[in-house]
Symmetry: C2
Subunit: 127 residues, 2 copies
């Protein structure tokens, strides 16, 4: 069955010691109030103006700081299998999503979106 | 005078040894043909489907691999000064753009866009 995916979020991962300054900086840089997520309070985020793309800042227990990307999909298993076929490797499942490693060793996440969220107008269809 | 800026590009920086596999991976992951830039052939890029946001892969001479963000603006000097006021530090000017370091030490770029490209509909206005 077909499924959809798209790159949906930019996530700035920040060690505890730098978190508050970094959150204030990227709020100011983008002009967006990055609000804390109720269910996952280690994240603050907002949609970026002029984009259907979100920016998140994640508080890490420890480093290293980095930027990582989240791919959202309406079929987690099918999308993870597709990305493994392209050369990614599973690292671990966390909450509802998967952490994978790309061919250059950089981490990214694959995150399930509710059915009907992704479509031909806002995502890529995989048959 | 007012100016505009917005987060416009996600850039995956990849050491030479991993570049070709990484470029093929992210082309496949997003479903986008990432094309080489004529003027800066170390970059391949495309607009992301469903977003007014670009994804670039940059070939590095050496590591480390990382993801960095590009803020585009119609007034480079004013935007760099604004970001310095928020806590960023200048690292170096390269070609037409500036490399800055954010408060957590992560690099990002500030890139000039042609006048008239950014407006109230697609960017943040700074008075």
């Amino acid at each position: 069955m077909a499924h959809y995916s798209r790159l949906s979020k930019i996530v700035i991962d920040v060690p505890e010691a730098d978190h508050d300054r970094e959150l204030a900086f990227w709020s100011g840089a983008t002009g967006q109030q990055l609000s804390r997520f109720d269910r996952h309070p280690e994240y603050h985020g907002a949609k970026l103006p002029g984009h259907d793309m979100g920016l998140l800042v994640q508080r890490l227990g420890d480093g290293p700081g980095r930027v990582h990307l989240d791919i959202h999909t309406d079929d987690l298993d099918a999308e993870v299998a597709r990305l493994e076929g392209l050369g990614a490797e599973k690292v671990e499942q966390m909450h509802a999503w998967w952490i994978l490693r790309d061919p250059a060793g950089m981490l990214f996440c694959v995150v399930p979106d509710p059915a009907g969220t992704l479509n031909d107008g806002n995502a890529q269809r995989w048959d």
